[in-house]
Every structure is written in C-alpha cells, then in structure tokens.
C-alpha cells in the first residue's frame, strides 16, 4: 500500500469548510438545477437517488449507491471525461456501471490545471484523482466501522459494498454515504497497489457514447436558451489590415437582424496573457434572431479596410513577459519561404554545442545536407469556434468549448468590468481542440456582445471565419547536416531550425547526447500572420524532419534504420555526451518502443510488395515508435498498415488510448501529405474545405495496430505524442516505395498521392 498525506494534496478533496457539517450537497449548480429521474450513463439507464451526499469535490454518493464523479478537465476528444472518472472510481472501489459522470464547471478553489493542453490532463491530476477516490473509500469504511462498532481495519470495500467478515455485516455505499459525508477528512490514506487496479487499465466505453450516436445536445454550438440571440463577427480579410469604415445601415434592415456594431476587444493598456491573444482586436458584430439570417447579413456587409502599422505587444506566458512584433505589410508565401531559406547568420543562435562540430565537418570525408519545410496550418476543429454568454449588470455566465477556462476568465473579467467571482464558466463537450481552443478570444467577444445587447447570446463563427482568423501552426524550416569519415562512421550532426515566428528546435532531444560533435542552432522570422499551439507544437514538424534525416544517415552508413537508432540510443544511455540530465529523454525507454515496434511489426520479415518506414519520437514525456507499410496500387502508394508502440506509463483506458494513437497516425499522415495554408497579399488562400485539403476515408491507413509498453510508471502524455513521428515514417516508407525522398510538406506538392 502507498500511504499518502492528504494535506499535501490540492484543494478538491479537502472538504470545503462550508460543507464541514457534511450532508446534502448544494455545490454543483449544473447538476442540481436539473436533477433527472433517470440519467443515461454508459448506455445503461441508472435509477437516480433521492439524495446525494458530497464526499469531496470530485464525487458524491447517492442514497442508492449511485456515484457521481466530476470530470474537471475540458473534453476535446481525448476522452478525459471517461478516463479521469475511471481513476477516481477505481480508488473508490465502486462498480463502474453505478457511476454517472458530470462535467465540472471551472472552479479554481476545487481543481487545478483545468486545461486541455500539453497532454497533461491525466498526468497532472493522477494523484489528486486517486486521492479523491481513496479518501472517500476510507471515509465510507470509517462510517461503517462506527455504525457497526467494529475496528475500521476490519472493514472491507469491494465494488461499492462495505463488509465486516466477523460479524457478517454488510452495507452498500449508499447506506453509509450520509454518515461518511459528516466525517473529517483523514490525515493519511492508502492508495491501491497497481496490481489491485480493477478499472484503470481496462477498456471502458466513452460515457457520452449513447448521446453522441443519438444526436443529443452536447456541444457548445448546440446551446439554446430562451431569448437567445445569435451573433457573428467580421474580421479583416488579410493579416496586416484593420477596419476603416463600414455601412451598418444597409444590413440592419435585413430580416431578423437586431443590431450591427463594432467591438474593440482589449484596451491598449491591457496586459494580455499569451492565450488571450487575437489577431484582430476590432471586429464588426452582427446580431440577429437566427444563424442563417446573421450569416446572410454578414455577406451583404460593405466594409473598407486599411493597412496596419507595425505593432508591438507585450504578453505574459506563465509569468514571463514576451515582446512580440507584428510587422506592417501584406505577406506572401513565396516571401516566407525565401526568408526561411536565406536566413542571415546574425539571426542564428547556438542552442547547444557538444565537441567540435566545426572541425568534424571540415575534416569529413562526406557530408549530407538536407532541408525540410512545412507550411502554416489551420486547426480546423470540426466544430467552428463558438460560445454562449449571458451577461447581466453584475454577473456573467459563459458556456461552451474552451481548452483554457481558467486562463480566459481574467480577460473576460477585465473586458466586462465584472469581478472574477461573479463570472461562471462551464464547459460543453468540444468538437475538437488541437490547440485552437487554448486561445479563447471568442469567449471575450461573446461576453462583450451579450453585455452590450443585454441578452443571452451565442456567438458562431462560419468555417471561413474560423479558417482565416489566424492562430495557425507556424511555418517551419530545418536544415540538417551529417558528417562521415572514410569508414562511413557518423562524426558530426548539425541542425539549424527556424520558423515564422518561432523555431521548432528542441536542442536537447535525441539525437543530442548520442553524437560527440553536435551543433543545434535556431532562428526566427517575424510576421503579422498570427500563430499558436497546434497539437504537439514544434514536434509536429521537427520529428518528421529529424526522423527522415536519420533514415538517410542510416542508409549512407549501410545500416538498418532501427539498428542504427538503437546504437545511438545505447550510446546515449551508457555513455551520454554531456551530462545525462542535460538530455531531455530517457534513452532506455526510447529504445524500448523501437524494440517493441520491431517485434510487433515483424520488421525484418516484410511481406513481398510491402515498403516500410520507421520513426520514433519522444514528446510530452511519452515515447512512440511507428512502422508504416506502403503497398503500390497501380503506381499509387497506399498505406496498408501502421504498427505503433507506445510507452506512456500506466495506460488508464487502453482502447481509448488506442483510438488516440489511431487518430494521431491519421492526423499526421493527413497533414504531412495534403494540408497547408498559403498567403497572397496577407490573405489566406484557403478558407474552407474545398481548397483546404484534409485527409479523408480513402486516404487513411487500412489498418492501425497499437501496442503499449507494460509499465508501472505514472501516466504521461497520450493526446499529442502519436502525432509527430508518423510524418517521418510516412516519408521513409514513401522513399522505399517510390525511390523519392520527401522534404517539403505537404508531400502532395512533391507529386506523390496516397489512396
């Protein structure tokens, strides 16, 4: 048993002082305001109890033994709404079919890190979720022991039943819930042994499944309220532009239109956090009765735009100030490419240097140099940006899809002039995130609109608004060089990576630490095209570039690509260059996934006609190796199968984690192969799915198989890590299949077509 001090933990499971007397719950308004007789959970109908008893901020138990578990984090498709409550339920020792899951509202007093970002939902809450369940289990045992007058150590709890063997007494959790809720929180509790987990590590179906397949309202865009108005915004058509003038009167007369006005989101002196960022601070707002009427009115609006001057802004990012420059002018994709290729030496910074790479390159018998690039990408969540707000004189209610409710709340407060404690933010299920909904300017926009309209308002972006609004995945560029001696030994490695406006370099990741002479440099290029985090930021390019280049090195050395990587990892593990701790990754776990994928893909015995590429990468504290198999079908490469090996520590919900692995693979192939956003005179040249190509059914791999490393290490990231490496595996397999190496994403521009 692991004993842990409950006081060391966070806030949620220490009982709120206002509830110290225990008893009936009055905490979570969303739940109490509509107490259904029957709730749908896990596609099985559950009889709701008459009374609920709150044990702590994560859970309450009904008088009939049904348990409600709060899922604190935003659900963007990573399935935390199922997997986070699973962790609580396991430690609570309750039958999963008696669990009802509720989305928690933003509550900074109860929870920490209510964020969908950095693949950290499970890892950052792992201990708290376990403690919440274990604390409740302990309190239920204590309540039974007191009731039965037996020692608490003799009371057992199994699947929601408390028992005392010697006296033969037993009771369901529901019978003890009232008494347990009145007890003091124990100072120390025992967590389960990993081997005793009965829910964690077993596959449980998505708790929203039944609602999803029957079309129940779950998403922000589905919110309907009495008297609700629909709003939409108009932003400049090009980066580097701002509003000059517009003719509101012409569209005010259109049917269903209530008002047309502008909002200026942030005052000039408002110090923004990075996630408050918006490309277009001044927007035209159209408000009306229905979505279609508002969208039609927007199209009919006459607007004049003018050019922006250069703008500098200071934003804070986790306490650090960042100065950002947005140059004036209308930018073009050709200029972007030229700027990245022809970077001047004065802008290049050394990020890490081991040994004497200059001498090694000077003395090399052969040097290979390759450059890789990728375009800007739009996140393109299937659910366009939207949010609901109802702002009254001194209160604001917000409801919708956001990855960062806690970080957006201060911006909403500032713009409305309403104190934080009078702002309630609740989260719906979200039609995708991928980083886009980290930047919640749309929450601030709808709050400002509702305040002005004095009415409940739902803000809805069109797809075109969504795709042309900015916050893109940056455009990146990297040049790799490798030096070899006359015996074809690798003697030096050099990466110079940059981007608009950030560099994708991780100087201390593999192969740093495995090569004596190593040089990593980075650079940046300013732009007024705005960017933000996109699933596995920076890794989403550099992994594919690096893993493609390693493939060329292995080929030059005449080595098997997996053997070659394992040799480097052995060096990094046993005799690392530099201090071991200066390398970000654990070389033995890295090697572990490569060995597992080698075994599971039957790497050495490819079937005839199958062309294989391998890739492996570390990010978000997890390790992923992938083998991608291509077959040629009438000169067209088809991805027949992908085999993935993943080490993300303990896997909470294996089938759901496999789903994320499959999604990462398809997402990675799609973006490497087909997608890109280009610019002409500051205007995005793609604004909808007719010209912005996303991967479709026919182009997806025919089969994806995921294998997890058996581990007792606490869970690490799962949402992002499967995404970056597949781009390398794809490029390497395409080379085997066609003889052509791929350097510029999207690869489709380099001629190959999958599917």
């Amino acid at each position: 048993m692991t004993h842990i001090k409950t006081k060391q933990g966070r806030r949620a499971f220490i009982k709120n002082s206002s509830l110290a007397g225990g008893g009936l719950v009055l905490g979570f308004s969303w739940f109490n305001s509509c107490k259904p007789k029957v709730a749908e959970a896990l596609a099985v109908e559950i009889e709701m109890p008459k009374e609920w008893y709150e044990i702590n901020g994560y859970l309450k138990i009904g008088d009939n033994g049904v348990v409600t578990i709060m899922s604190p984090n935003p659900e963007i498709g990573q399935n935390v709404r199922t997997s986070m409550p699973m962790i609580v339920a396991d430690e609570l020792e309750v039958d999963w079919k008696n669990v009802v899951v509720e989305q928690a509202a933003l509550n900074t007093n109860l929870y920490s890190w209510q964020v969908a970002g950095g693949s950290r939902s499970i890892s950052s809450s792992w201990q708290n979720l376990r403690m919440a369940g274990a604390t409740a289990r302990h309190m239920l045992k204590e309540a039974a022991a007191e009731t039965w007058q037996v020692p608490v150590g003799e009371v057992t709890a199994v699947a929601g039943i408390l028992s005392h063997e010697a006296t033969g007494k037993s009771a369901g959790y529901g019978e003890m819930a009232s008494a347990a809720s009145k007890l003091e929180v124990p100072e120390e509790i025992e967590l389960k042994e990993i081997k005793d987990f009965s829910i964690i590590g077993t596959s449980r179906k998505n708790v929203d499944g039944k609602k999803l397949v029957t079309g129940k309202p779950l998403f922000g865009i589905d919110v309907q309220r009495e008297g609700m108005l629909i709003a939409s915004v108009v932003h400049p058509p090009a980066f580097g532009m701002k509003l000059k003038s517009y003719d509101a009167e012409a569209i005010k007369q259109m049917p269903g239109i209530r008002d047309v006005f502008t909002i200026k989101l942030y005052d000039d002196d408002f110090k923004k956090m990075a996630f408050h960022f918006t490309a277009f601070n001044e927007l035209i707002v159209v408000v009306g009765d229905s979505t279609w009427q508002v969208f039609q009115a927007k199209k009919a609006l006459n607007v004049e735009w003018e050019n922006n001057p250069e703008i500098t802004d200071t934003m804070t990012m986790f306490g650090n100030d960042m100065k950002v420059t947005f140059p004036a002018g209308m930018e073009n994709s050709e200029d972007h490419t030229a700027k990245l290729k022809d970077i001047t030496s004065s802008k290049i910074k050394v990020a890490r240097k081991d040994g004497n790479p200059e001498a090694a390159f000077k003395n090399a018998a052969k040097i290979i140099e390759r450059s890789y690039s990728c375009p800007f990408l739009a996140h393109n969540t299937m659910e366009p940006m939207n949010f609901f707000a109802h702002v009254t004189d001194d209160h604001a209610e917000l409801l919708g899809p956001t990855q960062t409710p806690e970080w957006m709340e201060p911006a909403v407060s500032e713009v409305l002039g309403i104190p934080l404690e009078n702002i309630d933010i609740q989260m719906t299920r979200q039609g995708g995130g991928f980083g886009r909904r980290l930047y919640g300017h749309f929450m601030v926009e709808v709050a400002a609109i509702s305040q002005r309209m004095k009415a409940p308002v739902k803000l809805v972006y069109t797809r075109e608004d969504d795709m042309t609004q900015g916050i893109y995945r940056p455009a990146y560029y990297a040049t790799y060089r490798a030096a070899f001696d006359t015996d074809k030994n690798l003697t030096a490695f050099h990466v110079r990576a940059g981007g608009i406006p950030e560099s994708p370099l991780f100087a201390n990741r593999f192969p740093a630490g495995a090569i004596d002479n190593y040089l990593a440099e980075d650079f940046t290029v300013d732009s007024n095209i705005t960017t933000g985090a996109f699933r596995a930021p920076r890794s989403n390019f550099i992994a594919g570039a690096e893993q493609s280049f390693l493939d060329e090195i292995a080929e030059e050395m005449g080595k098997d690509p997996i053997d070659f990587r394992l040799e480097l990892l052995k060096r990094a593990d046993e005799n690392p260059v530099g201090k071991k701790e200066s390398n970000d990754y654990d070389a033995s776990r890295y090697a572990g996934v490569l060995e597992l994928v080698r075994e599971k893909s039957n790497w050495k015995q490819a079937e005839p006609g199958v062309h294989r590429g391998v890739s492996a990468y570390f990010c978000h504290q997890s390790y992923v190796a992938q083998v991608l198999d291509i077959v040629m079908d009438n000169d067209t490469p088809v991805v027949k199968k992908v085999t993935a090996a993943i080490d993300c520590g303990i896997v909470v919900n294996p089938d759901a984690a496999s789903n994320l692995s499959e999604g990462g693979v398809i997402d990675g192939i799609g973006h490497a192969m087909y997608s890109g956003l280009t610019f002409k005179d500051g205007m995005p040249q793609q604004s909808n799915f007719d010209r912005y190509r996303l991967i479709r059914h026919k182009e997806a791999p025919k089969m994806i198989e995921t294998h997890f490393v058996q581990s007792e290490i606490d869970p690490t990231g799962m949402g992002e890590p499967p995404f970056p490496p597949i781009m390398g595996a794809l490029a390497n397999a395409l080379y085997k299949a066609t003889g052509q190496r791929h350097y510029q994403q999207p690869f489709i521009k380099e001629k190959q077509i999958i599917g």
Binding site: I76, G77, Q78, K205, N206, D208, G209, K210, L212, V213, T214, G215, K216, P217, L218, F219, I221, D222, Q224, I230, P255, S290, T291, W292, Q293, N380, T381, M382, E383, P384, R429, Q430, G431, G432, G433, F434, V460, T462, R463, D655, A656, N659, L660, E662, G663, V665, I666, D667, G670, N688, F689, D690, L694, I695, R696, H697, K698, A700, P701, K702
Partner: protein
C-alpha cells in the same frame, strides 16, 4: 418569408422562414434538432448529413423550399431508442473521439447500408469519403460500418 410544412422524423412541422434557408439551420435553430451539425456550409465535410427520402444529403445545401413532400430523417429520428444497427455498431466499436462529425458519418453509413446491405471495403470508403473526421477515426468508422452490416444480417 413563407410557410412550409415539413415531414420530419415521422411527424409534420410547420415553419415560417425565408425559402432559401438551408434545412441545416431550420433543423438547428427552429426545430431544436441540433444533432445535425454545422461544419463547413458548402457541402464539403458531411457533418450536416440527413436523409431526404432514402438518400443521404447535405442539409447545408438543401433549401427548405426544395424539400416539398419528401420525408427528412435526422440522427434524432434514425431509431426510436438509439438502437439502429449503425448506432449499435458505433457504440460497440466506440468510434468517436470528439464525436462532432459522427452524426453525419452515421447518417451516411445508414443510407449506404439501406441500399447496399453488404458493402465491400472499397464501397464503404467510397460512400464515406465525403464525411471528414478531423480526429481521424476513419479506421474505426469502417470497422463499425462492417459491424452494422453484420448486425443487420443477424436480425
């Protein structure tokens, strides 16, 4: 504005809207049938797929004036208890990630199986190709369509 009488999910609803209003927005804003999703508005993503008669159509490109006497079925009306074989298969395979596109995927798949109860892999891919899933659940969708065909044949 004009008055329309629309046959939908087994009942008839009257509505007064502009004749050019796409069914997508009639469903969502006026009938409160929000299971049909807005994705692109130009018939490229399939999130808004409904059945017009027995055909899967994009409701974002279907003006209410073009519906006439034809029956519309939405995800809410696909089955009485959420037990259509395609819905059962989706639950069994646990297809979804974010889930936003899945109503459209299910409507396309159910229209396919009605016409072609035992589709080949290529026929499934062909029929489903107009429905984008940004999360990348394509392999699961295909598995679920096959499973639904099996359920159909066993009942």
């Amino acid at each position: 504005m004009a008055t329309f009488s629309i046959h939908i999910n087994g009942s008839t609803k009257n509505i007064d809207v502009d004749p050019s209003t796409p069914m997508l927005w009639v469903l969502r804003d006026h009938f409160n049938l929000v299971g049909t999703k807005f994705g692109c508005g130009i018939a490229q993503c399939g999130a808004c797929t409904v059945h017009l008669g027995e055909n899967a159509v994009r409701s974002c490109q279907l003006p209410i004036s073009a519906v006439g006497e034809q029956h519309i079925t939405t995800i809410e009306g696909l089955s009485e208890n959420g037990n259509h074989p395609v819905q059962q298969a989706w639950l069994e395979v646990d297809v979804y990630q974010c889930g936003y596109c899945q109503a459209g995927q299910i409507m396309t798949a159910s229209a396919l199986l009605k016409k072609n109860p035992n589709p080949t892999e290529e026929e499934i891919e062909g029929a489903m190709n107009g429905n984008i899933c940004r999360c990348g659940t394509y392999t699961r969708i295909k598995k679920a369509v096959k499973k639904a065909a099996e359920i159909n044949q066993n009942t």
